[in-house]
């Protein structure tokens, strides 16, 4: 292995500092990490997944199964990075994976000796029995086995980089910047279509980049790329991979904006996620070379023939001195010729019995020795290939004659090409099988927006690749509505053809059809030919089962190299043809994709929108501790110097009962219900009646779901003849609105009603406590005497020059009002109340104290209205009208919901000085505490009014159990309390205080 003095697409003026396992590599700008490794004589890059076999660079692109490394250190550390697609940068550090203590002496390699115990189905067979309850034991073993058999290690540090998302539309998306993709983009661009051309490499050209610099192919590439670069309507995205094709012709691209740098620069994201809506797309994703199968085909020094050619022509790295090229097709000859011309001693073994005479003559001219009808039976060598066993073979790939041993240092292999139909199958399902080429190909319909062009269609000649790309690009543009002229297709350059061969030999075997030594189908997951055989012997016939049993194709490379060979072996074993065995389904993403790119900015505080009350800033400035309530941030409590949550909420709740408190309840859902049939609408959606509600009044209401369970509750005020103002709980605001809209737009189209959310238009302050009336009378111009504004009435008024509506209603159980204020004035009114409240000893309170107050009153909230409770369960059945139908009125009467033993709402007075935990289970005083118990605790608090801990709960047959002492068991905290079952109306059950 050596770097040549001249040639390649590297910049010899720009040497870079790159290290692997602490050793410096020879690297230049333009190298990939794998090229730098090969140029520096690195033979072993990693140890294999299961058997810890030494592995080297196998490919030169995304299909690489072996050369996976830990890239970078610290928070940017990334595991399982393919060295073959990693562009080197100055300061690059990487280390080997899955080897301990180091690559050369890897203790895990002992697995190689025990391989017969680690074959297909190892987990399924091992982790059962032999003794009872052995699951726990095996789970412990698994920890060690997983450690030994594994991929790279991730980091637990937070990702320091940012990622962003873009949503774009285009006429034609061209996937792949090789010969077909370039001409497709050219034709579509000339026609005037808005084109996006995506190429995963850092440069356009595809396979042409593996042709020598200055060749006809390279000049062709430069000329086409230049024309494309001059088109304003063509956007070229390099370092960008189309990873997914979805419904409605939506494509996901991942652009690696900064991965070729040590760290992102100029505030750029690390990667960019593109969601592209394309009217038409041309898939020109090319094909991936397939390995030949034989014993020891995984040894360092074995690599794909065109990878060897790429390293030579693109990176000026000659991968060996004595090279054997083993193939079954014409295309590998080009690699052999180029390697021979570069100075290597090359022997080519062609599995076919006869080869075109012109090709043989050309080989002779290039100094390449060709042996037809020969194959490699096994590769040998410690650490690296040093010799191969070759033998004459028959048409089935079986050795027929004497085996000879030939020394070599590199084995370049090619068993043909597999079209990259991944994206097409993601979008349209299983590919079709083409008998002429014996390959799975896309089968697009004319109406499909996703077209295909070039080698992905297994096109045989370069001329056809180019003309097909051009024609498909022109067609895509036309279908997308661009009507310009595509002009003349660029002329092709000379290239080697890819003649189809339906009878390809995919592996070389002994006379009895076995491989000589371990022959790997799936290199990354260490799946051998013998594992496929074993699965067959054990009765696996479905290709999907075979895949999961052997794990072939399930590694990070998703079987890009292994799929066809595994299918071929299975077909052979079953005596079927490959299409009869079928193929598995490709799913996104095409390559491993950073979660960060999928997440974009939507993490941490940006995971979802945060909703803030119009008075939020005041709470923050006055030291409120905040809590999350759905998307809302709400004041939880307002601690006085050093106060804990418990001390604060008890103080705040007690204060509201003694003096006066205010709380920001702007988060309540608010819906304007307007129209001539508004009363009828309310009458249908609420369980109680609404036809008699007069203007100026409001009423509490409960609504059910269609299935008869309680959905929500709240008060609705009648502002005018046809104008109602509904409030919902904070949590259910969106659900209630969507439900109302559904009913009005589908089943109740005859009702002349419009519903609109006005949640954000109104700030709301609840004023509660014995001094509430005095305070509001001082700050407003309203007459709030109990005769003027009794409970469930409202008045309009002015506070601090702001128009407000004052609803008299109580959630706390105290004399209380809700003040509705246009949102922009809410803080001003709040501040006015605070200022004026000094003389009344006003204190703001948070959601924790609000909870304490409502539990004391026995009002239900989210923990009780949780989707499984009925009106009767919650003691609300008295609200249900009997003479009118309403949503849920029929299904709520199902006999099963009428069962008297159902859990019903009760109060619990906890004995002792410790409160119950919500979610604790309720059990009778005597007996076992097993199973689900007799019910559960839903809400819990300390009650300052009662001077004890109380809770709400749902208890089987609860109404009949008042006075009973039960156990409250918290299995999570392993704590048992005793409680007395009481009415849930703990405090002031007659409501004298709120009616005062």
């Amino acid at each position: 292995m050596k770097r040549l003095e001249t040639g390649g697409r590297i910049d010899r003026e720009a040497p870079l500092s790159v290290s692997f396992d602490g050793t410096a590599l020879s690297a230049f700008q333009g190298d990939t990490l794998s090229a730098a490794m090969l140029a520096s004589g690195v033979t072993v890059v990693g140890r294999s997944f299961k058997y810890h076999r030494p592995r080297g660079v196998y490919a030169a692109g995304v299909e690489e199964p072996n050369a996976l490394v830990h890239l970078r250190d610290g928070a940017r550390h990334e595991p399982n990075v393919r060295a073959t697609t990693t562009e080197v940068f100055d300061g690059l550090t990487c280390t080997s994976q899955n080897a301990w203590p180091n690559l050369r002496y890897d203790i895990g390699a002992v697995n190689n000796l025990f391989s017969r115990f680690l074959s297909a189905g190892f987990y399924y067979k091992t982790f059962i029995g032999p003794f009872r309850n052995s699951t726990r034991f095996w789970m412990m073993c698994e920890t060690f086995i997983r450690k030994a058999a594994g991929m790279g290690r991730g980091t637990y540090l937070e990702d320091p980089d940012s990622y962003e998302k873009r949503h774009v539309h285009c006429d034609v998306l061209v996937i792949g910047g090789g010969a077909a993709g370039l001409t497709a983009a050219l034709a579509a661009g000339r026609a005037g279509a808005r084109v996006i051309l995506v190429e995963q490499d850092s440069e356009l050209g595809g396979a042409i980049l593996s042709d020598p610099v200055g060749s006809d192919a390279d000049n062709w590439r430069i000329s086409v790329t230049k024309e494309l670069g001059g088109m304003d309507n063509v956007q070229i995205l390099t370092r960008t991979t189309a990873v997914g094709a979805y419904d409605s012709d939506t494509f996901v691209l991942i652009e690696r904006v900064s991965d070729h740098l040590k760290a992102p620069e100029n505030h750029q994201p690390r990667q960019r996620f593109w969601q592209v809506h394309a009217k038409r797309a041309v898939l020109a994703s090319g094909a991936i070379e397939r390995p030949l199968i034989f014993g020891g085909n995984d040894k360092p020094g074995v690599m794909l023939a065109h990878a060897a050619r790429s390293y030579l022509n693109r990176y000026a790295v000659l991968v060996g001195d004595t090279i054997i090229v083993a193939t079954n097709n014409d295309t590998a000859y080009q690699a052999a010729f180029d390697l021979g011309t570069a100075g290597a001693n090359v022997t080519l073994l062609d599995a076919r019995q006869s080869v075109d005479a012109a090709l043989l003559a050309e080989a002779k001219g290039a100094g390449v020795t060709v042996k037809t009808g020969h194959g490699v039976l096994a590769a040998h060598g410690r650490g690296r290939v040093s010799a191969v066993e070759i033998a004459p073979i028959d048409a089935g790939g079986r050795a027929t004659g004497p085996i000879s041993r030939v020394p070599c240092d590199t084995l370049a292999i090619s068993a043909g090409w597999t079209p990259s139909v991944h994206l097409w199958t993601q979008r349209h399902g299983k590919p079709g099988f083409d008998d002429a080429s014996a390959l799975f190909l896309a089968a697009p319909k004319e109406t499909d927006a996703l077209q295909t062009a070039g080698s992905v269609n297994a096109v045989e000649t370069l001329e056809e690749v180019i003309t097909q790309g051009f024609a498909q690009g022109a067609e895509a543009a036309k279908q997308a509505g661009a009507d310009g002229a595509a002009g003349i297709c660029p002329a092709a350059f000379a290239a080697r053809d890819w003649p189809h061969d339906p009878d390809v030999i995919w592996g070389v075997f002994t006379r009895d059809g076995k491989t000589k030594g371990k022959a790997f189908v799936d290199l990354q997951h260490d799946v051998k030919v013998s594992d496929i055989d074993q699965a067959h012997q054990e009765g696996y016939v479905s290709v999907e089962h075979l895949k999961r049993y052997t794990t072939t194709g399930m590694a990070t490379d998703q079987g890009k190299l292994s799929n066809m060979n595994a299918l071929s072996r299975m077909a052979e074993q079953r005596g079927l043809r490959v299409p009869e065995v079928g193929t598995t389904t490709f799913r996104p993403p095409f390559i491993p994709t950073a979660i960060g790119a999928l997440v974009g900015h939507e993490h941490g505080q940006h995971f979802r929108p945060t909703r803030l009350s119009p008075m939020h800033q005041w709470h923050v400035e006055h030291g409120a501790k905040l809590t999350q309530a759905g998307a809302w941030m709400r004041p939880w409590y307002y601690p006085q110097s050093g106060e804990t949550l418990t001390a604060a909420y008890i103080r705040e709740a007690a204060h509201a009962r003694e003096h006066v408190g205010i709380i920001d309840v702007s988060t309540l859902g608010k819906i304007a219900v307007q129209g001539p049939d508004a009363a009828e609408f309310l009458n249908r959606i609420y369980v109680n009646g609404w036809k008699t509600l007069q203007v100026g009044r409001l009423r509490y209401g409960v609504m059910l779901r269609e299935d008869g369970f309680v959905m929500d509750d709240g008060a609705t005020a009648r502002l005018g003849e046809n104008d109602y103002f509904m409030t919902t709980t904070t949590a259910n605001a969106a659900k209630v609105l969507g439900f109302a809209e559904h009913l009005l737009q589908t089943a109740w189209k005859d009702l002349r009603v419009h519903v609109t959310t006005v949640t954000d238009q109104w700030g709301t302050i609840a004023v509660a406590g014995p001094k509430a009336r005095t305070l509001l009378s001082k700050v407003s111009d309203a007459d709030l005497n109990r005769e003027a504004v009794p409970n469930n009435h409202f008045v309009t008024a002015t506070i601090a020059d702001s128009p407000v509506r004052i609803h008299r209603m109580s959630y706390s159980g105290e004399l209380a009002y809700e003040v509705y204020i246009p949102a922009g004035f809410a803080t001003r009114v709040w501040e006015r109340l605070i200022d004026a409240g000094t003389e009344f000893d006003l204190s703001p309170y948070g959601t924790e104290a609000m909870g304490a107050l409502r539990i004391e009153k026995g009002h239900v909230a989210g923990p009780e209205i949780e989707g499984r409770t009925t009106l009767k369960d919650l003691g609300l059945e008295g609200f249900a009208a009997s003479k009118k139908p309403f949503v849920g009125s029929v299904l709520r009467q199902r006999p099963v919901l009428d069962d008297p033993t159902r859990p019903t709402l009760v109060g619990l007075e906890i004995e002792g000085q410790v409160g119950a935990k919500a979610g604790s289970l309720l059990f009778p005083l005597q007996g076992e505490t097993q199973g689900h118990g007799d019910g559960w605790v839903s809400s819990t608090t300390y009650s300052p009014a009662l001077g004890k801990y109380i809770a709400l709960g749902l208890l089987n047959n609860g109404k009949q159990r008042l006075g009973e002492t039960i156990r409250v068991v918290n299995f999570v905290g392993n704590e048992t309390l005793q409680a007395k079952v009481t009415s849930h109306h703990f405090f002031d059950p007659e409501g004298e205080r709120q009616n005062g």
């Binding site: 409605s248 559904h742 589908t746 139908p885 029929v890």
Partner: protein, 91 residues
């Protein structure tokens, strides 16, 4: 990742919408007192293979409920109409 051609807002991406319900079932009339029609409406659903009618809600757009034709097998999307303009036999 389907796209829906909302009659009010035009062709919009799926993330603006939420799926609502099966649009082939008809809500019983308000004065229906028998249990079975309500059980059928709330619980009983066919699970069709192929073209189907679904209610989708343009929650992040015009807030209209839509009746969308969607193929459960291929995810193809067909016509999209305003629910208020689609007639059901019963109501």
């Amino acid at each position: 990742m389907i796209r829906i051609d909302c009659p009010i807002c035009g062709l919009r991406t799926e993330t603006e919408f939420t799926y609502g319900a099966d649009a082939t079932v008809t809500r019983p009339a308000m004065d229906e007192t028998a249990t079975q029609p309500w059980v059928d409406y709330v619980f009983n659903r066919d699970n069709p293979r192929g073209w189907h009618l679904e209610y989708w809600h343009h929650v992040q757009g015009c807030r209209q409920w839509l009746v969308l034709e969607r193929n459960t097998l291929t995810h193809e999307v067909g016509s999209c109409r305003l629910a208020r303009e689609v007639d059901h036999e019963a109501s």
